[in-house]
């Protein structure tokens, strides 16, 4: 099989913040009854993490898990291990009403690093990105420009962002323009 490459093939941009293609990330969409014990157990054994609360995102040594909607989770793992993860979930949840799909190749992910990451995203998203409203550990599904994205802080000054791969190049270009030097209003850091 041909070698998989991420959407902008590892490109990065250094401006007011650093915008970097996060490379290939294994992602599995899991839909089902988030209240069910067997689903919680299956997630625990798959990525080693308990289910997050509403809008929560957790990362651990074996991967990560994000709350996408009242019946949907997004699991993160190594790119090569996504198929195995789906197989594991299929086995653990057999007989239940659920859906697990490897969506790794349908997503693009980017990492933004720097003091102004909130402001770069805030240029194109209606989400409240003030430090009081948007904290580490919360994932926000919203839009950037006209396209759907989800983002969360993995560290106080590191924003992870995922979008559909079909718009990945657009989002990368958009982020690079938004992260040009000397273009941040420094609204959140003021005072």
């Amino acid at each position: 099989m041909s070698d998989a490459v991420s959407v902008v093939n590892g490109a990065s941009f250094d401006g007011a913040v650093e915008v970097k293609d996060a490379g290939l990330v294994g992602m599995v969409t899991l839909r089902g009854d988030l209240g069910s014990e067997s689903l919680a157990k299956a997630v625990k054994s798959a990525v080693g993490l308990a289910l997050p609360d509403a809008r929560g995102v957790k990362a651990g040594t074996k991967g990560g898990v994000a709350w996408m909607s009242p019946d949907e989770l997004l699991l993160f793992c190594d790119y090569e291990k996504a198929d195995a993860l789906v197989a594991k979930l299929d086995k653990a949840l057999a007989g239940e009403h659920f859906l697990a799909v490897n969506v790794s190749d349908a997503r693009a992910s980017f990492t933004l690093t720097g003091a102004g990451v909130r402001e770069v995203i805030a240029k194109g998203s209606p989400a409240d990105l003030s430090p009081e409203a948007f904290r580490q550990g919360e994932i926000r599904r919203s839009r950037l420009g006209q396209v759907a994205v989800a983002f969360w802080l993995s560290a106080p000054e590191t924003m992870e962002l995922v979008c559909f791969r079909s718009v990945g190049e657009f989002v990368y270009d958009w982020l690079c323009v938004a992260a040009e030097k000397d273009t941040l209003p420094e609204y959140f850091n003021a005072g």
Partner: protein, 108 residues
């Protein structure tokens, strides 16, 4: 800007993150119904001036449908509630009546 709090994910989402779904709580008339009922279900909408119940979808967020009650003239939002209901919750109706004494309650 209209800001509605999605009852499914708890986010105060602004209009640009949502898709409007038109009037809420329609009675569906399908095969076997009279022509007048079917026409009413397909085409006839209230076009209210004042309190209005609507369907919205948090399309850029959690992707779920919900209901909202708002005023079509002032854009005041009275509240949002889950989609899994055929009429607005009684406490919401009560709240609207306190704010708008002329409101006669929900009718289909």
């Amino acid at each position: 800007m209209l800001i509605l709090t999605c009852p499914n994910c708890g986010i105060a989402a602004d209009e640009t993150e949502l898709s409007a779904g038109g009037e809420a709580h329609l009675t569906r008339f399908g095969a076997g119904s009279s022509d007048a009922d079917f026409e009413g279900y397909l085409f006839m909408r209230k076009n209210t001036r004042g309190v209005h119940f609507e369907r919205w979808r948090h399309s850029y967020g959690c992707g779920k449908w919900f209901h909202a009650a708002r005023c079509t003239t002032t854009l005041e939002v009275f509240g949002t509630y889950p989609a899994q209901t055929t009429e607005p919750p009684a406490e919401l109706i009560e709240k609207i009546k306190q704010k708008r004494p002329e409101f006669e309650g929900f009718s289909k």
